[in-house]
C-alpha cells in the first residue's frame, strides 16, 4: 500500500503550501483532481523524488521513501511528453529502463520486441523518437514503464493530445497493468480517463 501522510510542499518565494494525504492499495488507481496549478504535477514529482517535501511522509509497504533518491524509489513516471531520450533509438530507450547500462539478456531483448509488437509497433526497434508520432512515442514510453516493472506508476496527463485509437490502446494496457496488482496515481483533466481507470478520487 502507498501511504502518503501530511506531505507538504512550498515552492521557494511563494505563499501557497500544498498538503497531500491519501492511501492507495495494490491494483488500485487513484485519480488526482483539480484545476491547473492545483499541485497535481507537484504531487507526482514529490512521489518520484524530483522535489523534496517540507514535511510529511511517503510510505510504500511500510517502508519510508522520503530519503531515497529517485533511482532507488519503486516508481516509474509517465508524463504527457518528453518521456524519451531523443538521441537514442526505441530499443535503447526501452532497454535503459530494464538495465541502466543496457546490459540486456537475450530474453530481455525479445521481451522488448514482443512488447513493441503487442502495441502494433513491430520492427520499430531502431527508429528514433523524432520519427514517431505522438501516439507512438507515448506507446514506447508506456512500454518502458511496464517492462521496467515497478510497483507504482505515476501518470501525469499521459493521454492528453493523443488520438482516440491510441487512447483506447494505452488505456487497455494501463488496465492490464493495474489488474496485475500495480498502483496507479493518475493526474488527468480528462473525465473519460478517470472514469475508465480510477477506483478512487483525490480532490485538491
Amino acid at each position: 500500500m502507498l501511504d502518503v501522510k501530511n506531505l507538504t510542499f512550498r515552492y521557494p518565494d511563494t505563499e501557497t503550501t500544498w498538503r497531500f494525504t491519501f492511501q492507495v492499495d495494490h491494483g488500485q488507481c487513484i485519480a488526482i483532481n483539480g484545476p491547473s496549478g492545483s499541485g497535481k504535477s507537484t504531487l507526482l514529482n514529490l512521489l518520484a523524488g524530483f522535489l523534496t517535501p517540507e514535511s510529511g511522509t511517503i510510505h510504500w509497504q511500510s517502508r519510508l521513501l522520503n530519503d531515497l533518491p529517485p533511482w532507488d524509489r519503486p516508481v516509474t513516471s509517465l508524463f504527457q511528453e518528453h518521456n524519451l531520450f531523443e538521441h537514442l533509438d526505441v530499443q535503447t530507450n526501452i532497454g535503459l529502463g530494464m538495465h541502466p547500462g543496457l546490459k540486456l539478456s537475450a530474453e530481455q531483448k525479445q521481451a522488448i520486441s514482443r512488447g513493441l509488437a503487442s502495441v502494433g509497433m513491430a520492427g520499430f526497434e531502431s527508429r528514433m523518437p523524432g520519427d514517431l508520432s505522438g501516439g507512438q512515442r507515448q506507446r514506447v514510453a508506456l512500454l518502458r514503464a511496464l517492462l521496467r516493472d515497478q510497483p507504482i506508476l505515476l501518470l501525469d496527463e499521459p493521454l492528453t493530445g493523443l488520438d482516440a485509437e491510441a487512447c483506447t490502446q494505452l488505456r487497455s494496457l494501463l488496465l492490464r497493468h493495474k489488474a496485475a496488482g500495480k498502483v496507479l496515481v493518475l493526474a488527468s483533466h480528462d473525465a473519460e480517463d478517470r472514469k475508465i481507470l480510477a477506483d478512487k478520487q483525490l480532490n485538491l
Binding site: A48, D72, M128, G181
Partner: protein, 561 residues
Amino acid sequence: MRQFPFGSTQAPLSHPGWQIGPGLIIAGSLLALTIAGLAALLWQAHLPEVAELWQNRYLGNVIRFTIWQATLSTALSLVLGLLIALALARQPRFRGRSLLLRMMELSLVLPTIVAVSGLVGVYGRHGWLTSVVEHWTTVRWNLYGLNGIVLAHVFFNAPLAGRILLQALESVPAPRRRVASQLGLTGWWLWRTLDWPAVRRVLPGIAALVFTLCFTSFAIVMTLGGGPASTTLEVAIYQSLRFEFDFGRAALLAIVQLAICGAIWLFMVRRGLSANLSPQRSFSETIRRPDGQGITRLRDAALLVCIALFLLLPLAAILLQGLPGLVTVAVDGGTSLADLAEATLRSFAIALPAGAFSVLSALLVLALAGRGGPHLARLSSVATAVPLMVPPIVLGTGLFLLLRRSLGHSSQGLALVALINGLMALPFVTQLLKGPLAGLDQATAQQADQLGVLGWYRWRWLHWPRLKRPLALAMAYGTGLSLGDFGVIALFGTPGQPTVPVLLYQQLGSYRMELAAGTALWLLTLLLLVFATFNLPGYRKRKQSRHQNDALNTLAEARHA
C-alpha cells in the same frame, strides 16, 4: 515483484565522489601550479629593482611601446572589424559571404608564426605587394617594426572582432529588425536605433580581449619587431631569461604584465563582459535591411572583396612560395628533410599530450560545476579561466625559475611545454565543451535519474552521444594550438631541438625564405591533417545517422518553444 532493484551501486563510478573528486584534484593542481609559478616570480624579483621600471630608459620604453602598439592595433582592429560586420550585416546575400566568414574563423587556429611568414611573403622586403608598389610608385615601406606588428595584429584580430560584432548585430530581436525594415530607417537613425545599442554591449569586451591579445603577443613581435626600439614586455621577458640570464628583471617584467592583464581581466569580469565573446557558428535569420541598396551595396562589396584579399593573400603566398620550397626539401632530402621530419615528430610528441590534457582537464573540471554546489561551480570557472588571467609566458617564467635547476633532461622541458600548452588551450576547450555537457534538459535528467542511468552509464548513454563531436573538435583545437605554439617552446626548448614553429622561426630569422615558406606550408598541412583526422569520422557517421541529428535539432527547438 522486484522491489528497489536499481541501487545506485549498480552503475559503475556513480558515487558522487567520482563526479567531484577528479575534477577537484585537477582544478586544485591548476591553481597550485599557477600559485607556485607566481610565488616563484615574487621570490625572484627583488623589491629594490622595482625602481628600475622608471629609472631604466630601456624598460620604460618597452612598457610604453607595448601599450602603444596594443592600443593602436586594438583601435584599428575594432574599426576594421566594425566595418566588416556592418557590411556583412547589410549584405546577407553577398556572394561568398559564408566563405568569408569561414576565412575569418581561420584566424582562430592559424599559428601566428605561419601567418607572419605569409605576411612577409606579401608585404616583406621582397613580397608581392611591396614589389608591385615599389615598381609603380615612390612609396617605400618597411614591414619590420611598428608597421609589421600592427599589420599582423590587425590581420588576426579584425576578423575576430568582426565576427563577434556581426553576431551582436544579428542578435537584435527579429521584431525590432522587422520594424526598422518596414519603417525604411537608414543611415544615422538605423545606426542609433538598431546597430549602436547592439554593438555597445559587446564593444568594451571585445576591446579588452583584443587589447590583451595584442599586449601579450609574442611570435609576431619576435619575428616582425626587428630591434630593441620595438620590443614588448613578452619579448623582453624572454630575452632577460634566455640571453641576459637576469631572472630578477624577467620576474619584475612578468609581474608588470600580470598586473596590467589582471586589471583588464578584472574589469571584464566586473562588468560581466567575459561571457559570450567566443564567436558562434550559427547566425540568425536574415531580415533585409533598408540600407543595403544602391551605392552602399557597391561600397560594401568592394570592402568585402578587399578584406577577402587581405586575408587570402598571405595564405596564397604560403601556398605558392611554400610548394616549391617543400618540393625542394623533399627532393633534395639531406639535412633539411631530416630536420623537418624530426621537428614534426617532436611537435606531435608535445601537441598530442597537450591536447589530451586540455580536453581531459576541461571535462573533469566542468563536471565539478554540474554536480557540486555554488562553491565548486565557482572553483571550476576560476580554474578554467586562470590561463586567461595569467599569460602563459608569465606562468612559464615562474615555472622556469622554479624548476630551472632540476630540469636536467631536455625531455622534461618538453613535458613542461606540453603542460603549459594544454593550460593555454583550456579556456577555449572549456568553451567548446561547456554547452554540450551542461545541455541535458530537465526532462532528460529526471528520466535518467529515475531509471538509475548514473555514473558511467550516464556518461555512456547521455553525454557521449552529444559530446563525441565537440570532443573531437576540442581535441583538434587543443592539439592545433599546441602544434602552432611558439612562445612557450621558445622559453623552454633548446634551439638545437626545434619544433616545427621554432624551425620556421629560425629559417625566417636567417632569411632562408624559400625554406621558411615550405615549413610554413608544412605546418599548415599538419594542422589541416589534425582537424581532418579528428573530425572526419564524425562526418561520415553523421551521414548515416541523419535522423539522430534531426532528433537532436528538434529537441533543441522544443526547448526554445
